[in-house]
Amino acid sequence: MTAESTRISVIEAILGGERELANSLLDTYAAANGSYRRAMNEVLEPVLVEIGIKWAEENTSLAQGYVAGKVAEDTLFKIIRDEQDILHTQEIKGTVVIGNIEDDFHSLGRKLVSIFLQSAGWIVHDLGSDVSPEEFVDKAAETDACIIGVSAMMYTTAANIKKVRDELDRRNLSGRIMLAVGGAVFRLRPELTREVGGDGTAANGYQVPQLFAELLARSQRETLQ
């Protein structure tokens, strides 16, 4: 099968909830073309972009998005398994720290974001749910991360993200470390990004790698100034 025909079949499998079939198609493509890395780059990444567009247009279900994330995760594990020796030589885009803000336990979106970021070549430190502002900034400083990604589902918990901005300001790290924010409430209230001190947000998990690439560029510009 060509990359194009495999892409079409993988999309159909994901949208139909056939996780195993999607994985099997990617296995076949990886075997025929030498690596899961190629299956990721030539098949799955374009598939995720297309599903992301459908998601933005509200043409996919939560379950379809979830299965897409699981298939990406499955493929990612296979890449890591096969490329243990060469992973350190591939281009790493940067290091990021992500987590749900304190009092927030809605982890689904964050987990998907982690998968999509890793698929795109980012080193991700996922701190989990209910993370304090100090923990976010401590980990970012410790790992030399350029971006902190904070998720919140509801307005009440999103308000806590402001404390991460305050902590970055207090340590003079704003600008060098970018603050990305996300979660359902930011789709409903886009103005909230500025209210909580965020440097940017994405409409969905599929768009996060692009957002982080932009924030990395901003961080590098501001660090040079």
Binding site: G17, A63, Y66, F105, L108
Partner: protein
């Protein structure tokens, strides 16, 4: 006509003096009575006072028991918190790790304070309004309750990929739901409204709905002592109505603000009760004129539809909704008349 007669007329498709209507003003009763929400959502007496105030101000034809799922989540061990302008919510789900699913047990309805609050609120409302105004009980769907007990991600993972665990969880939820729902009926509610999220193909696969959700709901609803209104749960529903056609005990469908009534009618027939679809949670963000214009369009759209009740869609009408918007809708309904031919 009394409100009860008006609602029954809509159910049966017979003539009424005016269009039956309701707004989800469960939360708004606290605002009208100046009651702190931590008290409103724990004291059945304060809840009743709030709903009496709601009735005095806008005479809805249906009143609701507390539209809050936090007491149910808390009964299963989740940690909840109270807000200033919204119903209580879940702070920490009981199950954080899917391997702990076996720790879920059915709460004792007779001794759990939160569940007793819901039941006592139902009883006080029914006693006060004495059958003149239908009382609608609100409970979380047995297919959605796991999401507030273990988190959306964990429940989705089980529902999609682990049939055995899904079956075990649904069995537990069914046991709880049937007992709780029937206790609500015993305490005087006339019907239940169940917001349905994980029953909608916008959230889960259609095959999951067909193979897992619908059979479970058919079994559960067949064991209830009264009828259910299938509430859209925040997602469009009209296009999926045929999926639920054979579930017993469904008296009607409450549609989403984006739903098209004509599509719903095409999919479910002329005789099923439909409710909707003025968006309630955003009424605080629009002008009264805009809200009334939208309400007028809905009424005009359903002018000849006898099996229709004008209602707000979504969750509660927002706390910040101006009183003139609510009374304006009441006045509009009063002057609109029966609507149908």
């Amino acid at each position: 006509m009394t409100s009860m007669e008006r609602v029954v007329a809509a159910l049966q498709g017979t003539e009424a003096d005016r269009r039956a209507f309701t707004m989800t003003l469960s939360l708004y009763g606290a605002k009208l009575t100046g009651c702190p929400l931590s008290e409103y959502y724990t004291s059945p007496d304060r809840y009743l006072q709030g709903q009496i105030a709601v009735y005095d101000h806008c005479r809805p034809d249906i009143l609701f028991t507390p539209f809050a799922f936090a007491p149910e989540a808390q009964a299963f061990g989740s940690e909840i918190f109270y807000l200033q302008k919204n119903p209580p919510n879940v702070r920490k789900p009981f199950i954080r790790d899917p391997k702990d699913i076996d720790k879920i047990t059915v709460p004792d309805i007779g001794s759990d304070e939160g569940l007793q609050y819901l039941l006592s609120s139902a009883r006080l409302l029914a006693d006060h309004f004495k059958g003149a105004v239908p009382i609608c009980g609100v409970l979380a769907s047995p297919l959605d309750l796991p999401a507030v007990i273990m988190g959306v991600g964990n429940w989705l993972e089980i529902l999609l990929f682990d049939d055995e665990k899904a079956s075990a969880v649904i069995s537990l939820m069914s046991e709880y739901f049937v007992t709780m729902a029937n206790s609500m009926f015993d305490n005087g509610i006339n019907f239940l409204a169940i917001p349905m999220m994980f029953s909608n193909p916008r959230l889960v696969f259609e095959k999951t709905v067909k193979e897992t959700v619908v059979p479970a709901l058919a079994d559960i609803f067949s064991r209830l002592k009264g009828p259910v209104v299938f509430h859209h749960g925040g997602n469009p529903l009209a296009g999926f109505l045929p999926l639920y056609r054979n579930i017993p005990n469904i008296a009607g469908f409450a549609l989403d603000q984006h739903d098209d009534f004509s599509e719903a009618r095409k999919n479910i027939g002329e005789n099923m009760l439909l409710l909707g679809n003025l968006e309630g949670p955003t009424l605080g963000l629009v002008t009264t004129a805009h809200a009334l214009e939208r309400a007028q369009k809905i009424l005009d759209n359903r002018r000849d539809d006898r099996h229709f009740i004008f209602a707000t869609s979504g969750a509660d009408v927002a706390w910040d909704t101006p009183m003139e918007t609510i009374t304006g809708i009441y006045d509009l309904i009063q002057h609109y008349g029966a609507g149908h031919a």
